[in-house]
């Protein structure tokens, strides 16, 4: 009887160990970014940086003023989504090159590399602590991915940013708002360099 009880306890312990092992969160859950949610127009404090998304515009043609001439960027099969925001870094110089627009179906778009980095808020120079940077983040996406899109701004470069602060911002683009934005997309949009202070 005692031997049977021992075997039973042993089996139960093995079962408990197996269950505990399965309950261990995977690396992505343990080391993923720490998100703070908010919406368009709201000042969001992620604990690592603050961000306020001011407006969202859509265009098929962008104009990029340069030192000597103005350049035009056209997308034939997509649209440019231009998000204007102010970002203030919290405590260390950081980059935000993993900023992305996530469509309703989960498809993720990085900020466009066709747009020069000096007019992109989250590309180029590092954000210095305490100095507000106001600028644009530009995405090139298919028009049918616009409705329901969410902006995700996370501190760190591609491949880094473990346990990094991340802002998840609802842009308030429902189906009717998406239609309105797309109707106005034929008007070219001029990009402006990032402002400081």
């Amino acid at each position: 009887m005692r031997r049977l009880l021992g075997i039973l306890i042993g089996l139960l312990m093995l079962l408990a160990i197996g269950t505990a092992h399965r309950l261990v969160p995977d690396d992505e859950r343990r080391m993923g970014s720490i998100t703070t949610s908010g919406r368009l127009g709201e000042r969001m404090d992620t604990g690592g940086f603050t961000i306020t998304v001011e407006q969202v515009e859509v265009a098929r043609r962008l104009t990029v003023p340069g030192l000597t001439s103005t350049r035009s960027l056209v997308t034939e099969d997509g649209v440019w989504v231009v998000v204007t925001a102010t970002l203030v870094e919290g405590w260390e110089a950081s980059s935000y090159t993993r900023t992305r627009l996530v469509a309703r179906d989960g498809t993720s778009y990085l900020a466009s590399a066709r747009v020069p980095s000096d007019v992109q808020l989250t590309s180029g120079l590092l954000a210095e602590p305490g100095i507000p940077r106001r600028g644009m983040v530009v995405f090139e996406i298919p028009p049918d991915r616009l409705a329901g899109a969410v902006l995700r701004v996370v501190r760190g470069d591609v491949g880094g940013g473990r346990l990094a602060p991340e802002a998840v911002i609802e842009l308030g683009i429902d189906e009717s708002a998406a239609r309105r934005l797309l109707d106005r997309a034929s008007t070219p949009l001029e990009l402006r360099p990032v402002d400081y202070g």
């Binding site: 690396d27 992505e28 997509g78 179906d105 989960g106 498809t107 066709r114 090139e140």
Partner: protein, 221 residues
Amino acid sequence: MPPPAPRTLQPGRPAEAPDAARRRLSVLLVVIGLFDLALIVGALAWSGGLRTAPAEKAPLVRLGEGLDTGRFVLTPRRAWTTSRDPLNDSEFADTGRFLTLEMDVRVTADESVDSPRDLQRGLILRLPGGVTIDGTSPRTSELRHGVVLAIDHSPAQVHPGLPRRVLAVYRLPSRQSWPHRVEVTGMRWEYAPGFLVRSRAWQVADTAVGRVVLPVRRGEP
């Protein structure tokens, strides 16, 4: 203080003899070990064991058909060679032998392909004369010159739902003559944990998904 007791002496041998003998033995063992290692490495090299394993022979697809890598579909279109760096249109462009591979890219994963280098990492190019440019080999990183969008020569970032034509540029090694054909093999990509880092990322697998042979013309079309 009394003088230290003398160490045991052997006739004709200094006092440090046992230490010296041990040292000599250690040196001898190290030499024998290195000799054995060199012998093994030499035998491995002689038998071909140090050469990169040949990639699995992939099915040959017709020119114009896509290679579905699991992350994006690549459709090689044309190839040509130039004697100036096609990625630099200034007068300071490097000269040499450059091979440009024009491809259409359609992303099938649910995220942008941010790094243009990824479009070359999953490709193996075989040229007449035996030169192979394996995208995953660090030794070919200097030969993989870059990938740009054909439309404006900006870095070839490709997004889901927005297929793009790209130009993948290779710098051919000096031993390679002007090629008249190139075989392009596409390797499978998988989203999997790394060897050291457990978080998942896109990596090139060992499996070839297909290969296509293109004629190479001299000069930009």
